[in-house]
């Protein structure tokens, strides 16, 4: 099929950004206090990748989207209740640990093994999507290693836009320093795209899409393979919250002229 893609979106689940986080030291890697009961959401940048994948698939007939997610099954199920209503996808679940203190290389290994085993996946048409970083580990490592493990050496990070041409090639805009985008032309799939925010708004919930997705989600959760993530020699000397608290000078009832003069003097220092 001309210009149809098999798009695999890798997305972890993370604590809702509005939750208060407190690290807890353990015998192995640290964790977050009460991590398992914290409300979770699909990782924000990976969610952008999912919406972009669905948008791309909708424009190119014959395309398909898989969502590969690693996390505790119960948490995945909770998050999928919401995510399922956004866009059509087939879930591939991996039952594994939650949290940002695991090693990215191990995560990539688990993802690579799972993706390679997806039935019917055409690796020649594969676009591997994900967030360029997660909101938990925030390393920006997993997608590159995953790409290498799957033999993909056309990789893009901090992607905000993909434009597919008639010949199957595509233009990619990647974030670079100075608030600009590097523009690249790629000959076509396979490729890795680690997304930044993209340009799409979050889709509205659709009960119809939710019903369709949920038919596959529960079986996918039931057959999720359990994985243990290796530390790869990584150990933690300390984990802490920043305790920096500033003594804020609150200035009330000062005329705007005086405030402006004070700010200008400060800026010019």
């Amino acid at each position: 099929m001309a210009n149809s893609f098999h798009i695999v979106v890798c997305a972890s689940i993370v604590p809702d950004p509005l939750q208060t986080l407190e690290p807890a030291a353990g015998t192995g890697a640290p964790s977050l206090k009460n991590e398992i009961v914290l409300p979770a959401v699909l990782d924000p940048w990976a969610a952008c990748a999912l919406y972009e994948a669905a948008n791309l698939a909708a424009k190119h007939a014959g395309s398909k989207v898989w969502l590969v997610s690693l996390g505790p099954k119960a948490k995945l199920q909770q998050v999928m209740m919401t995510v399922a209503q956004k866009v059509p996808f087939e879930l591939v679940a991996i039952d594994g640990p939650l949290g940002g203190f695991t090693d990215a290389h191990s995560t990539a290994a688990a993802l690579a093994e799972t993706i390679a085993a997806i039935p019917g996946l055409d690796r020649a048409r594969l676009l591997l999507f994900g967030g360029w970083e997660s909101a938990s580990r925030g390393a920006g490592v997993t997608m590159q290693v995953l790409g290498e493990r799957l033999g993909i050496t056309d990789q893009f990070q901090g992607v905000d836009q993909i434009t597919v041409h008639d010949d199957g090639g595509f233009e990619v805009l990647e974030r670079v320093e100075g608030g600009r985008h590097q523009v690249s032309e790629c000959a076509g799939a396979p490729a890795v795209l680690g997304w930044a925010t993209g340009n799409l708004a979050e889709p509205r919930n659709s009960p119809q899409i939710g019903m369709l997705n949920m038919r596959g989600i529960l079986p996918a959760l039931q057959k999720a393979k359990s994985v243990k993530l290796e530390a790869n020699g990584l150990s933690y000397v300390s984990v802490s919250l920043p305790r920096q608290q500033r003594e804020t000078r609150v200035v009330r009832d000062m005329p705007e002229e005086e405030i402006a003069s004070e700010i200008v003097a400060w800026v010019a220092e």
Binding site: P17, L21, P23, L32, G100, F101, D103, H105, A108, A135, S136, R137, G138, A139, G140, V141, Q144, V145, E148, T153, D154, Q155, G158, D160, E174, E177, G178, G179, H181, Q182, V183, S184, E185, C186, A187, G188, A201, N232, G233, L234, Y236, V237, V239, L241, P242, R246, T248, R249, V250, V251, R252, D253, E256, I259, A260, S261, I263, V264, V267, A268
Partner: protein, 349 residues
Amino acid sequence: MEKLLVLTHVDESGGALTKASLEAVAAGMEIAGALEASVTIGIVGAQTEAAAQQLAGTAARVLAVRGEAFAEARYASDAAACEALVRAVGATLVFAPASARFARVMPGVAYRVGGFTDTHITAVAKGEMQSATLEATRWFYRQRVEAVVRRETRPWFLLLEAGTRAPWESTGDAVAVETVAVELPALRTRVTGVRAPKQGEQTIRPDAKVLFVAGAGWTKKQPDGQVHAAEAETLILNFLRVSDASLGSSKSLVDQSGENQTVLKFLTHLNQIGQTGATPRHPKGLATCCHGEEPHVVGWRFITERRAVSLDPNCGWARGKADVLYVADAFKVIAKVNGLLAERKQANN
């Protein structure tokens, strides 16, 4: 004994190393001394001779991968170049700047040579508990949790955040450069250029002294019951022009542009700071019309001096986070600030 390789690349001019590269060199020289490690510096670029002279005084072995294929920041060619340099040295530790160019490739390079990567490193030091052990500091959960990590496995790749130390300053004699040959794979990607966002003018300036943070309050109803988005745009853009500041924005304000609400037209997601945006480093930050609690404030975690203008004296952005909070109307204050800065600029010209 550790073998430390510092990977660097040339800037867009092609004739000099990036500032972040020189910061990585400075970090490498310091740690090599502390760990009694050998140090080699690798350069990637189309031309590397001139850039290499910035390494004078390091007394390090300097290797280079050069050629037209390496003028472009492209995964396949950059990964091949860095892999060749790592293999040529047999490095056990690799430092590299966390630039867009190297952040794209370094994890893949680490995988190719059987190594592991840690990124967003803000500090490196010799461990106190064990001799000759490197420890690295980095943030987790979007700058909300800080950790110090170690790795027993080698090679260990560390991507160092820009702006966390002074760059290397060259001193002394000319630098001899050894060229490393690279066999490139078939290249399927071509870099065609760099594009600035469609926002009229450049508002993101990483080297600016001041970060101006615009919050959603700029597009809310003002005391007269009306929204003054056009006036807000003019005030903010004028401030950027007269102060040469960089512009950051809260997520809520950027998101409005995707939700068909009142927007500041020049804002894009690239301006976004905080939980799902950037955490830029500037000496000073001025937040205006921002609100929200701790998770949103990470956007200016790395701003040294912070001031805020808000009508809410209990604003979570400011209390305990800013050095000074002016309880005032930002529209009026910034208008007067702009006038004073313009006068000052004119006088200086």
